[in-house]
């Protein structure tokens, strides 16, 4: 390398004095590099950074949305469940009420039926008794008259007189009771 020394024969060059050509070259080279990097590199890297940020933020947003959906579904499910439970308990109550009503109705009907049967029985008993009394009264009258006529020896042909005697006789019977 030393063999190429330019200034070997002359005095040393001052290293602080710039070469004019190098000033020009430096300026051109730097400007060129600046233009290339500004045009083709910085925007591309910025685009990549922005896309990355967006991808990350988009992912977060998507996850949040999914979570929100899940919460909404859960709320809906819970609501359905509780409404179903409410429905079931309502049905149960209804059934209980209806059962009680039916029971009450049946009981009322049975009581009515019983009352009706009792009343009918009473009526028939009364009627029979009445009938018995009437027939008894007739028979007793005839027997008594027959007996009396036999005893007295006197025929009581007259119907009206016969009837009066029987009435009086029965009244006497009732009074004597």
């Amino acid at each position: 390398m030393r063999t190429f020394n330019f200034a070997a024969e002359g005095e040393a060059l001052n290293p602080l004095v710039p070469h004019t050509s190098e000033l020009v070259v430096g300026a051109i080279a730097f400007t060129l590099l600046f233009l290339v990097l500004r045009k083709a590199v910085v925007p591309m890297f910025e685009k990549a950074f922005a896309a990355r940020t967006e991808a990350i933020e988009g992912g977060i947003k998507k996850a949040e949305e999914a979570q929100l959906d899940a919460q909404r579904a859960l709320a809906q499910y819970t609501e359905q469940l509780s409404s179903a439970q409410g429905e079931a308990s309502r049905l149960r109550d209804d059934a209980r009420v209806q059962g009680a009503a039916i029971l009450e109705e049946l009981r009322t009907k049975a009581q009515e039926e019983a009352a009706r049967i009792t009343a009918a029985a009473h009526a028939s008993i009364e009627a029979e008794r009445q009938q018995a009394v009437t027939s008894l009264r007739n028979e007793v009258g005839a027997l008594a008259v027959e007996l009396a006529s036999k005893i007295v020896g006197e025929a009581l042909d007259d119907q009206a007189r016969q009837s009066r005697i029987v009435e009086r006789f029965i009244e006497d019977l009732e009074k004597s009771k």
Partner: protein, 260 residues
């Protein structure tokens, strides 16, 4: 150093002249190695990032991830954290600055290339001039020319007599010290680093070719040191690219702030 003295005469230590490389073709005087390297860096950086950014996929490939990592470092750790909400406007510039300086610096230790273009002061001058222009332009656009200059010359909230001292310092800082330190820091680091590597590698080479056996035996130490320094240089090269970009971002942030 003792070893070098043992040999007496013969060894010519590397000097600033080692940085003045001849044109590659005799007829084209401006086409020297650093010029070629600078153009190579433009091609390599463009190619790498254009290819890695081409798909802009949400799930990046390895190549895209590599490009993105560098880009995200400049965008988030340098531009956004330093400049604040308006950072996006400056990302292309800072990104170019960082990758350009870093690549050219690293050329200093890449086999066969092995020359940091930034050790030629013209390139740091140009970059510092760009940064100088950018941050003043931002300040003037933001606050208006007069208000911007007034804020520089007469920092608000300072007792009046202090201005006698402060005003010259502030003006010198903004218009002289900042661009100069920006460019010279980068230049000097690359220059010194390259010189250091030359000393050890060329010294080792010289020792190996010396007829004295002791010198031959000791020459691996020089090479070993040269290799160790190469790693050190790699760190310095990355650091200088970072510092250059960071300071530019800080200057822009200062120009954007209402009061500095």
């Amino acid at each position: 150093m003792i070893n070098l003295q043992l040999s007496g005469d013969g060894f010519v230590p590397p000097s600033t002249n080692d940085f003045n490389l001849p044109p590659i073709f005799e007829s084209i005087e401006w086409l020297t190695k650093p010029v070629l390297l600078v153009f190579l860096s433009v091609i390599l950086v463009s190619l790498f990032f254009v290819v890695s950014a081409r798909k802009a996929a949400v799930v990046p490939s390895k190549l895209q991830f590599a490009g993105e990592t560098v880009y995200a470092f400049v965008r988030n750790d340098l531009a956004r954290d330093v400049i604040g909400p308006e950072f996006m406007r400056f990302v292309p510039y800072l990104f170019t600055l960082f990758t350009f300086v870093l690549t050219n610096n690293i050329f200093g230790i890449v086999p066969f290339l092995q020359f940091p273009a930034m050790s030629h002061v013209a390139f740091p001058y140009v970059l510092a001039a760009f940064s100088f222009f950018v941050f003043h332009y931002v300040g003037i656009r933001k606050q208006g020319l007069l208000k911007y200059l007034k804020e520089i010359a007469f920092m608000p909230g300072v007792p009046k007599p202090v201005y006698i001292l402060l005003t010259p310092i502030e003006i010198a800082t903004f218009f002289l010290v900042r661009p100069l330190t920006l460019s010279l820091r980068l230049f000097a680091n690359m220059f010194a680093g390259h010189l250091l590597l030359l000393v050890f590698i060329l010294g080792g080479e010289y020792m190996l070719s010396d007829p004295n056996l002791l010198m031959k035996i000791l020459s691996p130490f020089a090479f070993t040191f040269g290799i160790a320094l190469t790693f050190f240089e790699f760190m310095v090269q990355c650091l200088q690219a970072y510092i250059f970009t960071l300071l530019t971002a800080l200057y822009i942030a200062g120009a954007l702030a209402d009061e500095h």
